[in-house]
């Protein structure tokens, strides 16, 4: 009973800032300008299917690359001495102390014409522009969200009981089998929460693509932002579809791992 009372502030917070806006978006998405019921917003929303797909594709690529980079790193971290673990986790976190936008600006300067990358490659005789394309957007996203992939995997791996690994070794498993049969299965909850924490924000963000992308790299967040100026109904419909996509994604993730991993 006591614990329930303590959660009241959060419940009020959730009601006012999550539930009510959600209901309002739901209502707006199913009405037209005059306020009557209409499916027109959804009809309009589906003209942006290509942007949806592009956003999901960019998010998918970013998540995949983050995972490939993060997993070995988390594995290494978890097996280090405790003191060096702290140092390395700290190093991972330091960039996040800086403002999101400033970090994106740093990438603009790195990738732009006559920037460090361009100058370095021009020594080899390669000239080009490395900004304003989908690859730059993915690089920015990976940079932005990598810590969100590393940390949950690292936490889960730290929790793996060393005696389980010893038991596997006693029973004759080689290094690869220990990884495949013990460490990997036990780290799945971390992987799932990492994927969720990278995929969801990268599918809905638009800042990275606005700054690092070209004219073809518009993301669904950008469309929502612009459409909302004049047409709240279509904007709400697109938001709702995006939410449904993300919800479906979470459910799918839920099927793979235990519920607690999904925050």
């Amino acid at each position: 009973m006591k614990s329930r009372k303590l959660s009241i502030p959060y419940i009020v917070w959730m009601l006012v800032f999550t539930m009510i806006p959600l209901v309002m978006i739901g209502i707006t998405a199913f009405t037209d300008k005059s306020g009557g019921f209409s499916l027109e917003p959804f009809q309009k929303a589906f003209t942006y299917t290509n942007v949806f797909l592009k956003s999901l594709w960019i998010a998918f690529l970013s998540t995949l690359i983050s995972l490939i980079l993060a997993y070995p790193l988390a594995y290494m971290l978890a097996r280090m001495k405790k003191s060096s673990q702290n140092t390395f986790v700290m190093l991972l976190m330091i960039p996040m102390w800086m403002n999101f936008l400033l970090r994106i600006y740093a990438w603009i300067i790195l990738l732009q014409k006559n920037g460090p990358l361009d100058l370095a490659l021009s020594i080899l005789g390669i000239h080009g522009s490395y900004i304003g394309n989908t690859a730059a957007v993915v690089v920015g996203m990976v940079y932005e969200y990598l810590p969100f992939m590393v940390l949950p995997i690292y936490t889960v791996m730290c929790k793996i009981d060393p005696s389980l690994i010893e038991a596997a070794q006693d029973l004759g498993s080689n290094g690869f089998d220990v990884f495949r049969k013990v460490i990997f299965p036990l780290s799945v909850p971390g992987i799932i929460s990492g994927i969720t924490m990278v995929f969801v924000p990268s599918a809905s963000t638009f800042l990275v693509s606005q700054y690092l992308g070209g004219t073809d790299d518009i993301m669904i967040g950008d469309v929502i932002d612009k459409i909302f100026w004049t047409d709240q109904n279509t904007g709400s419909a697109i938001s709702l579809i995006l939410m449904i996509f993300i919800f479906a994604f979470l459910v799918l993730m839920n099927l793979f791992g235990d519920e607690e991993a999904i925050a």
Partner: protein, 358 residues
Amino acid sequence: MKKIISILLSAILACSAAAALSGCGSASTEDKGEVNIFNWGDYVANGEDGLLDVVEEFEKETGIKVNYTTYDTNEEMYNMLKNSNVSYDVICPSDYMITKLIKENMLLELNFDNIPNYKNLNDRFKKLSCDPEGKYSVCCNWGVTGLVYDKTKVSEKPVSWASLWDEQYKGEILMFNNSRDAMAIAMQMCGIDPSKCTKADIDKATEKLREQKPLVKKYVMDQVFTEMEGGQATIAPYYAGDIEVMMEENEDLDYALPEEGSNLFYDALCIPSCSKNKENAEAFINFMHKPEIAAENCKYLRYGTPNDAAAELLDEDIRNNELTFPSDDYLKKCYVLSDVDDEVYAYMQEQFVNIQAE
């Protein structure tokens, strides 16, 4: 299921309670000595570059506390006034938005007895077409749109908007990321008068912009500064006052006022009908038109000031600069955007998003 229903019900309850509360809200926080300013971002001298901090100066002189909030677009400001229960005392809409606000009874008539500095204004800016009787607004800045380009990268000096469609600058062109300005340029290219546009005109402009998209590096607003100052692009359209600021940062840049004319815009200080401190608001408007203050703002922004007394205080190189004060001959070729119907504007915005989304 029962749980969900109860959550929904309580949400609705909380919703109506919030609505009831907000209806009478903010009265208690109101103090006699306050003024709530809702202005464009980065729009008054703020103490940088050796200039005055105008807001601080106002507080010092009058003892009125300023709550300063900013917006990026006229539409954002309009939505804020229209849809949320806020109270602002001074806003600074542009021409077409003033027309719209007057039409919807969202502005208060000004008491010019409280704004004696109004006499400093050039007569040309006293009865603008958007406020023909001059009852609701006091013009504070004006300017035109123009082209900024990198001298080292162009083969010949651009003279018209057509350069934004020039194949040789492919991938080096920046374009307005704002439907109204982008469409206006495209309409001029199609020989349409952008000041009063119809859906058919928008369709033609959309086609023109679609044609341009493969040549465009990026659709930008504020990013134009870093792009042009850093030599990352060749040519871009932007507001003339801002072009002057860019040219000071990068001496390879030069400007052109398109020969076919461009968009002449006015921003004016107004008092919205939700104001609760009208006299303080008038005091602020009056302060903004003190010659020294208006001059200070002009030095900072480099948009034209309608304040003749302030113009006299400016250095000659600003006063004679075509970007800050375009010649009367040029202004004759310019057009002022008028208010279009909500429906037409929504259509314009939708088409602009579609061009980018394709």
